[in-house]
């Protein structure tokens, strides 16, 4: 985008309706994320981090306010349109990897490409590029159960980047990993951010993980507090 803004949230509120009650989660929230930024989101459990991430990733609609991502006002998209928009613009990384157990690493990474018009050969090229980027090209025929947690998450990252999306969202991507594997995943995200200019939003409970980001935001009681700008790390874009 010309203005260099990846994400813009204006007066966003989100409440869930549970039977007769409405549970307010986000209240009049404003947020601006620059293109190529690596943003970490922390906050107590139930503070609405996942909810916020879902709004930005186009998985859910805000109750009011505007969510603009990559120049697109997501509130204006129908369910079908926003599904297509997600396929083209967002890569998802989940805490529990969420790979399809009956598909190999290769086939898992290929899934988002099945939605494109790419032929088999081009798909293969792209999948192998993504697997190489996460250092697992020799594991293409392995099923998820044959991989370690860290490796599974790397396959999930390959799946998230294989369509070359504009934005990566990661909800506690290291939450289920040991320190060493977590470190590898974080380095990988950092590399995707610095080398491929991916805008990344990562929810985490881990302060060490948060250190990798350019900026750390705290979400509490429906509000964003603290806007800590990190010291740019060596080689990281700022």
């Amino acid at each position: 985008m010309a203005d260099g803004l990846a994400i813009e949230l204006r007066a966003v509120t989100k409440q869930y309706k549970r039977d007769e009650f409405t549970v307010p989660v986000l209240e009049s929230l404003d947020l601006v994320v620059r293109e190529g930024e690596f943003l970490a989101l922390m906050g107590p459990s139930g503070s609405g981090k996942t909810t916020l991430l879902n709004l930005i990733a186009g998985l859910d609609y805000a109750s009011s306010g505007e969510v603009i991502v990559h120049g697109q006002d997501l509130g204006r998209l129908s369910e079908g349109q926003i599904t297509r928009w997600r396929a083209n613009n967002v890569g998802f990384i989940f805490q529990l990897y969420n790979l399809i157990p009956v598909l190999t690493a290769f086939e898992n990474v290929e899934l988002p490409l099945l939605l494109t018009n790419l032929n088999r050969k081009r798909r293969r090229e792209n999948v192998m590029t993504a697997l190489r980027a996460v250092g697992l090209s020799e594991r293409e025929d392995h099923y998820p159960r044959q991989l370690s947690g860290g490796q599974e998450q790397r396959v999930a990252i390959a799946r998230a980047i294989v369509t070359d999306p504009y934005l990566l969202v990661a909800d506690e991507p290291t939450g289920d990993l040991d320190r060493k594997s977590a470190e590898e995943i974080l380095n990988l995200l950092e590399q995707l951010n610095s080398e491929f200019d991916k805008t990344i939003i990562m929810v985490t409970h881990d302060p060490i993980a948060a250190q990798k980001a350019h900026r750390l935001l705290h979400l509490d009681k429906g509000q964003l507090i603290g806007d800590v700008v990190q010291v740019p790390r060596l080689g990281a874009a700022s």
Binding site: R86, F92, Q95, L96, D171
Partner: protein
């Protein structure tokens, strides 16, 4: 089909469940195809007789009553009639076998002219005509029971209190879709017994009269004229084409067609439930996965397609094994020998097998519909929350 791998792996995910579903579909379709074939074959066999221009004269009282044998020569004298033979059911036991095969008392001179599709070597035919206690049997029966020309067939009467001691004088060959297990003997020989041992009560009659006409155009008028001539007699007749007669004969044993249709509907419905239940279980286990697919951009339509393709493939596999399998199996193994004369031949027609396959595809589609709709309706957010 780039989604085939995923659909196929999903089917193999719970091998036992898929196997059981496929097995129940195939077992039911196997049976249903066989049942449906009974009706289909009856009709095919009946309409197959059209080429032979045959009429059947029976008593208007039904098959329990008889036609006086004097009618035979009267009918033979009518224009358009080429040959006619009496046809009388004996229903004898062979040893302890109550219904071994169909036995008919006929006119030895004309039977193979009326039934021109049954072929007997001329010298055997002559031998049959010359032996009052001789008989000609079908090739299928001869092969199955290892009968040869010259063998004795001692039949014990069940309807009549006398026995027939027949000697095989010839073996007829018949086209595939005709009865290869009949036993023809002299009507005179039966008549002799009736006069001697049945106080002459039943003597002087034929069960029915089989008429071969010289062309099909004369048949409507001829049958009308025959019946009109005897309508005021003590023994009115009913004359119809062999096709109509065969159909009537089949219906004599109850309204099979309706029963079979009813069974078919119940089978289809229960298969929809069985397959639908298996699909619903499979989908419940994959809630998170469906949500993930939706998150990465699979539309509701595509999700529905995946579910429907899976249920359809499962049911179609069952249909292929059951319906087409029943055809191939019964082509290889003839079960009609267990039906002693009531079923001349048996096979599953391709039409039935293919309809069975089509029905199984329909079953798969319908059973996948509800699971597919609920998978499409699943909210991504809630599906994903299940994990965390």
């Amino acid at each position: 089909m780039k989604y085939f791998t995923y659909i196929f792996r999903n089917i193999r995910r719970n091998k036992l469940r898929s196997f059981l579903t496929i097995a129940s579909v195939s077992a039911c379709l196997f049976l249903a195809s066989i049942l449906a074939s009974f009706t289909a074959i009856n009709e095919e066999a009946a309409s197959g007789t059209r080429d032979f221009n045959r009429l059947v004269t029976m008593s208007s009282q039904g098959l329990g009553a008889v036609v006086p044998i004097v009618r035979l020569n009267e009918i033979r004298g009518l224009g358009g009639v080429e040959f006619a033979t009496p046809f009388s059911w004996y229903g004898g036991k062979l040893g302890e076998e109550i219904q071994p095969f169909a036995q008919f008392g006929v006119d030895a001179e004309t039977i193979f002219k009326v039934y021109e599709e049954l072929v007997v070597p001329p010298e055997d035919q002559k031998a049959f005509i010359q032996d009052r206690a001789g008989c000609v049997i079908g090739r299928k029966m001869a092969t199955e029971r290892k009968y040869q020309v010259g063998d004795k067939i001692p039949l014990k009467g069940t309807i009549y209190p006398f026995n027939l001691d027949l000697t095989v004088r010839g073996i007829y060959d018949s086209p595939p879709k005709s009865d290869g297990r009949m036993c023809f003997f002299h009507w005179d020989y039966l008549e002799e017994g009736l006069k001697r041992d049945f106080k002459g009560d039943r003597a002087g009659n034929a069960g029915v009269i089989m008429i071969r006409c010289n062309n099909s155009k004369v048949m409507p008028d001829l049958s009308k004229n025959i019946d009109a001539a005897y309508s005021n007699s003590d023994t009115p007749t009913k004359t119809q084409t062999e096709e109509a007669f065969s159909k009537m004969f089949a219906e004599y044993f109850g309204n099979f067609k309706d029963v079979i249709s009813l069974v078919g509907i119940v089978v289809v419905l229960s298969l929809i439930f069985v397959t639908g239940n298996a699909m619903a279980m499979a989908m419940r286990e994959r809630t998170t996965e469906m949500a993930v697919l939706k998150a990465i951009g699979f539309s509701n339509g595509r999700i529905m397609f995946l579910v429907l393709a899976e249920s359809t493939l499962i049911a179609a596999a069952g249909g292929l094994i059951g319906a087409v399998g029943s055809k191939l199996m019964l082509d290889a193994y003839d079960i009609s020998k267990f039906f002693a004369g009531f079923l001349a031949f048996f096979y599953v027609p391709w039409s039935v097998a293919l309809i069975g396959l089509a029905v199984s595809i329909g079953i798969g589609f319908l059973s996948g519909l509800i699971p597919a709709i609920s998978a499409a309706r699943l909210s991504v957010i809630n599906g994903l929350r299940k994990v965390v």
